[in-house]
Amino acid sequence: MKKFLTLILLLVSFLTTYAQQSNTVEMADAFRSSGKIYVVIATIVIIFIGLAIYLFSIDRRLKKIEKEK
């Protein structure tokens, strides 16, 4: 009986750790809850807007040159 009980106990403990494992895939939760993720987003957005403006300005300069011809 004692053996049987310990066996069940071990099995159950295995189950709980297994369940825990599947729930705790590490994600950047702290980063999200502290709100610092918005800093990253702002940085990326600023960089991309800069690149986009640069591309548009090349476009405009090209249009001018094309009109001269």
Partner: protein, 224 residues
């Protein structure tokens, strides 16, 4: 061809990509082992390949058109598409290596996906070398157009077919978590589709800019 001189679609492209930076980083993603938070690379790394694919296909289209008509502009369009495609190819490779370092432990682990991507990269580098090695213009245009038409399907097979048939570590092949699971997640589609669309038209935009510069250069050279 009026399309490439218009502005409206370029504005849409920029807005689409901007929206993915916000939705792609804020919206919740499925918790998967191995991938963790890098699952968000789907919105940034994968669209690079989409951009490459769209300009490479346009380049094949213009190669075929060149062979049909013999017009020089078509040849120039196809070359500039390949040049832009190589830029996106490099970006895709570098971001992939970055990601591999933190999930597989090695920048380059000789994975089938990485190896065949490298081979296909060399295939397109050979296109540039081949082009630059021929002096006569018409011959150069014709030979490089034919090479380009053959290189494209080989690239497709190398990057998108062969790695899926073997045991690759890359998500989506060999039972590794990827697309099958994303499909269930409608939240990811909200950032993924705009990213794919936006970046492929971004590649087209850059290609058109290069093409227009090339046209002017070409005109100037032929007058002298």
């Amino acid at each position: 061809m009026k399309f490439i001189y218009q502005t409206w679609w370029k504005v849409i492209v920029v807005l689409l990509i901007l929206s993915t930076f916000i939705t792609g980083l804020i919206l919740p993603v499925p918790r998967l082992a191995v991938l963790h938070e890098t699952i968000r690379n789907l919105y940034f790394h994968v669209p690079m390949w989409m951009g490459m694919l769209s300009v490479f296909s346009i380049s094949v289209f213009y190669s075929i058109k060149y062979l049909n008509t013999g017009k020089e502009e078509y040849d120039l369009a196809s070359v500039e598409c390949v040049n832009t495609g190589l830029l996106f190819y490099t970006l895709g490779l570098i971001t992939g290596m970055m990601w591999a370092k933190y999930t597989w432990g090695e920048f380059w682990s000789g994975d089938p996906k990485q190896n065949s991507a490298a081979i296909a990269f060399l295939l397109y580098c050979a296109y540039i070398v081949l082009r630059n090695s021929i002096d006569e213009e018409q011959k150069r245009a014709k030979i490089s157009a034919i090479y380009n038409i053959f290189a494209f399907p080989i690239m497709i097979v190398l990057i998108f077919v062969l790695p899926r048939m073997t045991d690759s570590l890359h998500p989506g092949s060999g039972g590794n978590p990827a697309f099958g699971k994303y499909d269930l997640d409608n939240g990811m589609k909200l950032a993924f589709y705009p990213a794919m669309l936006g970046w492929s038209f971004m590649a087209i935009w850059i290609a058109t800019l290069r093409y227009r510069i090339r046209l002017i250069e070409n005109k100037r050279n032929s007058i002298n």
